[in-house]
Symmetry: C2
Subunit: 305 residues, 2 copies
């Protein structure tokens, strides 16, 4: 599909794309860029890329597809760097979790004859870095594309086809709507997970060792997503401020009502909510976005360590 | 260890105890009580119990160990029922998620020659009912006992030994402290999971179908614990009100500070918290209360449905 793909950034997503593209034979050559020498060495050792560069512009030179896969806070500077070397007709895409800011930070640096098709694969684990990648990460997951109004249809189709061949399903929507949807399905959930883990580690009446020992009662599920990459998530909250604050406001409003129901012993209010949420879980399992395996198979002793 | 064990309630915990006790040969006879005829039939079909009764008192008659394993809101009425038939020297324990209320609701109904040793195995899945049980549920998990000050040491030791032989580790603490520890490690996490799922299903700007489709970004982790049994959790919040409201207050206080950091673009505050929480995750994995397997193995296609 592409003669030379440049992956700028070799974290969980970049390395998984490299593996998925190789498996499906989608790229003649894959090159990468990473600031850290250790990441470059690892990427070469794992054969994620045919060549690795310290500078994004070196990787992007001669590429017909450039993928921005660093934390989103770096996108603007990278776009400024690569803007000068991009060839006419090249496609630039990204995998960032916020999409409005791509149009704001990246688009102004690109020549007019280069196609910008922002994207976001809604997939991930709590692990980071080039060794965390695996080719199956995108299978049966959604990738959302948010092309600007004037995007060329052929370029959008080509990026959509790339994701399909890596196993993903593709949805197209405006960047602003993406940022609202992800605020509630991903950003606010991460924020409250980070927050409860922070609260729990900072109490006088309950020790941290007690929190760790008795985490199987529910807390440990939150620590998984609160173990996600700090730089990536800092950048998400700084760049999707309005949507996150709006959804967070709704969350707090609902939580206040729930708090009140507990204070006044309103059992029926609690029961109704808890029944309703159970049905949503069922829909997610039915939609293939989750397995129904109890406890995510944590009960198998073979997986324990 | 016991000649006749009566399990009052045959949900996830009751059925798992039956299987774990059988496997380790801890009971001469296991009998159960369940209000619903369907549950009684299922329990007999799965050989969870040698006999099943509709009335708790019938099961408790002649038992040397009685385990209360219903939602905690029913404990008071059950204790009143079985109080009259209990034999001298019998031990009564429970598996409820709140412990202060056991001393309040159960103790007054028991004869003086019966030993009350409240307990709470910190283990579970989001599934409910007699078919959800499995013998390994308690392995490597903690069971907290909260005996009253005047409890007989021999009875406490016997209940502790029962849990150890079912695979659990045992910790003893005052009921009031238990309720604080669990409020932060289990009750508030469940409450905010229920709350975010409720918020997400009730927006005008984002459809429910979008929430379901794009849940892999973090939201689905919350739906798992928000799929827990509604009756059980209603009773938890109604019976651990003070500790839950206290911990919820701390959570909201911290969340407000985080909200402010986002509004004012304080990246360093966010980064520091996100780094700190990652370390706590590591401690939980090291303590054997969680596996480090990325994404709980959800990536294996074999588990998908």
């Amino acid at each position: 599909m592409f003669a030379r793909v440049a992956l700028i950034g070799m974290g969980l997503i970049g390395s998984s794309m490299a593996l998925a593209m190789r498996r499906a034979g989608l790229a003649g050559e894959i090159v990468g860029a990473a600031r850290s020498a250790a990441t470059r060495d690892t990427a070469l050792r794992l054969r994620l890329a045919d060549a690795m560069f310290a500078e994004a512009a070196e990787a992007a030179r001669g590429a017909d597809l450039v993928v921005l896969a660093t934390p989103i806070g770096a996108f603007g500077a990278i776009a400024a760097e690569i803007g000068e070397v991009l060839e006419a007709g090249a496609i630039v895409t990204d995998v960032g979790s916020v999409k409005g800011m791509v149009l704001r930070d990246v688009a102004p640096h690109l020549p007019l004859n280069v196609h910008l098709v922002p994207g976001h694969p809604v997939a991930g684990t709590e692990h980071s870095g080039p060794e965390a990648g695996f080719a199956e990460l995108f299978e049966n997951r959604w990738c959302i594309l948010t092309p600007p109004d004037d995007a060329e249809a052929a370029a959008v189709d080509k990026v959509a086809e790339l994701w399909r061949r890596m196993g993903a399903k593709v949805e197209i929507m405006p960047a602003q709507h993406h940022d609202l949807v992800l605020a509630i399905t991903s950003h606010v959930p991460h924020l409250i997970a980070y927050n409860i883990v922070g609260t729990a580690s900072d109490l006088e009446t309950v020790t941290q060792s007690e929190v760790i020992k008795f985490s199987a009662g529910g807390f440990r599920d939150f620590t998984r997503i609160a173990a996600s990459d700090p730089t990536m998530w800092r950048d998400v909250f700084l760049n999707n401020k309005e949507a996150v604050l709006e959804m967070l406001g709704r969350f707090v409003e609902d939580l206040t009502a729930l708090q009140r129901a507990i204070r006044w012993g309103e059992g029926e209010t609690l029961f109704d909510l808890f029944t309703h949420t159970r049905a949503i879980r069922r829909s997610i399992v039915e939609a293939g976005q989750e397995t129904a395996v109890a406890d995510f198979g944590r009960r198998q002793p073979a997986q324990g360590e």
